[in-house]
Symmetry: D2
């Protein structure tokens, strides 16, 4: 009662909201039943995109401080998890859109020309703010992607492209992870030892296996030695930078190492939230990829070999973009450098203590 | 190119749509992060409600003609199935809303007072158009439910309450089902015979079962005779009307019989779409009930024993309404009158032929 | 290559697994197509129940030590979250089972008599291990629930009923929460002060509101004073114990207070995992309740007013049990005692420091 | 009571079922918590695969007769829809499996070597029975895919590969569609006319558009003429056969035409179930593709650049197979040949009458 009474109808702005569905097919005198569904699905997407942007912005604010406050990590993690929940919902919206059959779509498809999802400002903002760069994007129609946006939005998009993304902020935050190298503990030296021991053991197992022929032994040993060499990317900074320049990695060397530390020692209380945050970023990437893939399948179903409303070769472009428009690929690839927990070097007690609460 | 070019941004009215989220907490100088989610979830609900109403209206138009065109049944069925798909999606939206914790809700709860989902005009329209009557509604606050609506909407709601609902139209359509009683085939007589035979067999099985004592035989026989009596509702119109006046049934006697015929002989081509339409109505009822239940659970979680924003006793009211606000209950109860397929009377060939295509 | 090679088929025991579907309808010479679905859905349930039990047991092991190791909380939380994921999946299985229509079920229903989900040992174990007590269970057929189990399982069930449940272990763990009362900080005193200030403010707002009549002021003030009295349960141990004996609460006084502390100060690093664990327990309760409800709806659909295969009054019993068989109700009700974050007493710096990492 | 009483526990064979999880990690003395989840997820998959095969077999039986009974189409359609529901559920199981992190998988990954999903007999049977041919399969390891199966299953797989698939049966059924060409109605002639009119109109619109330059007119006209040429595949059997031999189509010319007729005139009562059956096959293909894609993403997440347990290059192979292992692609591509409903030639009344019921 402290505030003037509010009615649901006014609070949600329903007069405006429910008056925002203008059917083109109706305007041109050829009313098509399914156009309303088409509009409402896309409006629901845009509402959710607004929410996703709001959450991403708030998480970026948290990660923009140096250091990031420990007491903000729980909130940051919860908001990323909310983004995942929303994205899962939007994947489900495709089930609803697919209740429209291609023939029904054809009833109003030509009145929309050339409107297309390519022109969604908010979706492009989400991608860009998360960290998708121009060079990561699949080229389309020889024209920069932001040229498809409404004129009034192109400048803001270009500005956003020059600002730090969530990827960048997370990278800097990871680089500042303590414990990577302290006086009493050189994680990389001990991890490298563990990796080498593991492979030596494996090679010994091969060499002493009476069931294997000499040739098989040679071949298997070679395979193991090659696997061992893969780990050089982790232990040899120059080699890593080389691979990074070739585009095989994006994270800085130090950030990659920190991400590995977080993964390997995640059970230490201080690493639990960082671990959950990395997992949430992986989930966001995976759910966005799933969304793109379902969207591409739907486009194929709706259009066959026809070109998309935006003039793209439709399905083909979408399917290719699905594979390429990933952002946190390094976190996926990190797995390559894991060793089984039984081989992970134990933390010295003084380090373990620092990673725990001490009240 | 026949029409002026359209841009996604303008087509979807995004300027208006994305400007419709006015945070009360901001207005009062106490910005609460989760209020945006709260608004957007409810706006997404209202967008979907608009779509559901559009589909229900179109289905009602189809069922308003006499006779209903056979070539419209496929479309009617598909639109009801779309309503189901949308309702399943809206159940999923609760997962998103539950990423807001009760403490986060408390940050802005008092600025919304007394706004509440009870005031959703579209939801009430959906219920009413499907067939929920005033007498089916759980009383709340001694005031008719439509008094909670925005003043500008109360008259339209009262008008809608006096019009034929989808329930009414389906009932009339079912009543007109041919084949219920033809010269050559009296379905009810043969069905009644089948039911009696089935129970006579069962009673005989009991009586001749050497493992049963005399007392057990008596008890089991009595049980079977009572079950047989249940079927009287189906075969004795006066008895049925009696039960109907007591509120145990709502469908007219003839419509109930037709619904049973459709269920039992669904595999006949002419009954396939009616069967699917009845099933879709059941699914709509069930999904709405699930939505109400999840909503009630969420309210309990969000508010504990506190009263809802609409002044209701929150969870309790919602839980009770869940159980009571069903519409197509008769279709659920119809199962009571099924007999196993092996006992179903076979259709005479001339009837079966009429239920099939003949090209 | 360290271990003998394994084939997928043998590893999963598929010979045995895929030979475990014995159709009774086939055995009795009346093959019913949908019986296989019925068996496989229930076998899939039981596989998942085994996994759920495995996770619950491992979480109980973690919470059985005193103190519970901080470095185990992340794992415990992840396993509870896995239980939620599994339960959500099993809710989805109902969609699959509902592709069977009641008429199809009738084709084999009588050959199963009196088999029933009531006889599922694993489901009863899950409920019991989580903390459902005999007195919480809805009475059924005048006979203890475990009498429905297979004879070979009744003893194990009775033994489990005498052991500490997860509810009990969580309660003890919460009771040991530090920070509830330290030399420098009496949480309860400061929380009580905050609550009183909040209500005094509200009463003052009412009293000085020129739009309210004297009568309205009196009524509203009374309402606020009653709300304030509700909080006595939190601040007056005797009063709480009284309510607890009446069954309004189950958690010990101290555990309830600790749960509130965790909720209110969740952003402090040391409380993040406890907060997430409590939320996971709430989610488990809510998902189990949703499952029960969907199951009850399905039963109603499948059986109408017929009695269930287990001889129960089917739908009715299931619906009532849904409402009653909750376990962590206190965590839901806790919300009643929340105050908005702006009113929450700030932690003294030395306490906040102890709740954080200090490396 | 006609049959001996049955207990849930025995009916479901739970002794056997719940004793089928043999942890290799335990056998080798290195118990890994998550191995049970890994086993149970895959066992649940195999249970569902058994059900899917059962349904596909029953649908194949229905489509094996000539003619296919109209009164069986409803059942066939419902069973295909059940397959879709099951496949959607199995997509959801990936969410459960992803609660296992890569590090947890590493704890037992080497004891499973070289077991792999490639060795799933039932999955390969599903693909083969639906219609995936050897030439459609992405080559893997230079060895026929069935060589990965258990020895005891390779012969049955090879036999299945020589039998008619569901694709083949559906093709034959479509070819027999009446109405393709009757005395009074040549669908193809009138459809071709409609297509030509539509394009002539479009070309005229371009030519008379004052906003277009001569060059733009020329370019747009050329584009429309090319689109028109695409339709030749539909109207010129020789051209179609040519494309078919190049692998661009798989369906016979007549079956493709019938499928188009069904799509275009779906609202005619006799075409409703055929339309729904084609849609169900599309949905099955799309859901299997989604499953493969989610599975590929999960593999990438679990293994990074590591090779899969089956020795494959893991993620890469799975992603490529996703794109290639489609079966009913022609039904997707059919959309290319749709014209808007307003352009579809109207059925002559005598044909429309034959497509309807006449009681």
């Amino acid at each position: 009662m402290k505030y003037p009474p509010v009615h649901y109808h006014n609070y949600l702005g329903l007069d405006k909201l429910l008056d925002s569905q203008k059917l083109k097919s109706l305007e041109y005198g050829k009313p098509a039943h399914d156009e309303l569904l088409f509009i409402i699905v896309h409006q629901a997407y845009e509402l959710w995109f607004k929410q996703i942007l709001f959450e991403i912005n708030s998480v970026m604010t948290i990660f923009s401080t140096n250091p990031v406050e420990e007491s903000k990590l729980g909130v940051a993690c919860a908001r990323l998890e909310r983004v995942i929940a929303i994205m899962k919902l939007t994947v489900g919206q495709i089930d609803v859109l697919e209740t429209m059959t291609p023939l029904d779509f054809l009833d109003f498809r030509d009145v929309l020309y050339p409107a297309s999802g390519f022109q969604s400002f908010q979706w492009r903002l989400i991608e860009t703010k998360l960290g998708l760069r121009t060079q990561d994007r699949l080229a389309f129609n020889q024209s920069p992607f932001y040229k498809a946006l409404h004129e009034s939005q192109q400048q803001e998009m270009q500005d956003t492209m020059t600002q730090a993304s969530l990827f960048d902020l997370i990278e800097k935050w990871l680089e500042r992870t303590p414990f990577l190298n302290t006086d009493s503990f050189d994680f990389w030296k001990s991890y490298r030892g563990a990796v080498q021991n593991m492979f030596q053991d494996d090679i010994h197992t091969v060499q002493s296996n009476p069931r294997l022929s000499e040739e098989e032994k040679k071949k298997n040993t070679l395979g193991l030695e090659n696997s061992l060499k893969n780990f050089d990317a982790l232990f040899d900074e120059n080699y890593y930078e080389n691979l990074r320049q070739q585009g095989q990695f994006r994270l800085s060397y130090k950030a990659l190492q920190a991400a590995l530390l977080v993964q390997i020692y995640r059970d230490q209380p201080i690493l639990q939230l960082p671990f959950r945050i990395i997992r949430a970023l992986l989930d966001i990437d995976e759910t966005m990829t799933t969304w793109r893939y379902r969207h591409a399948l739907m486009a194929m179903r709706m259009l066959g070999q026809k070109i998309g409303t935006g003039g793209s070769s439709g399905h083909k472009y979408l399917a290719d973009a699905t594979a390429q428009h990933k952002i946190f690929t390094d976190f996926f690839n990190l797995t390559t450098f894991f060793v089984p927990r039984s081989q992970v070097p134990e933390l010295p007690p003084n380090i373990a203590k620092k990673m725990n609460f001490n009240y």
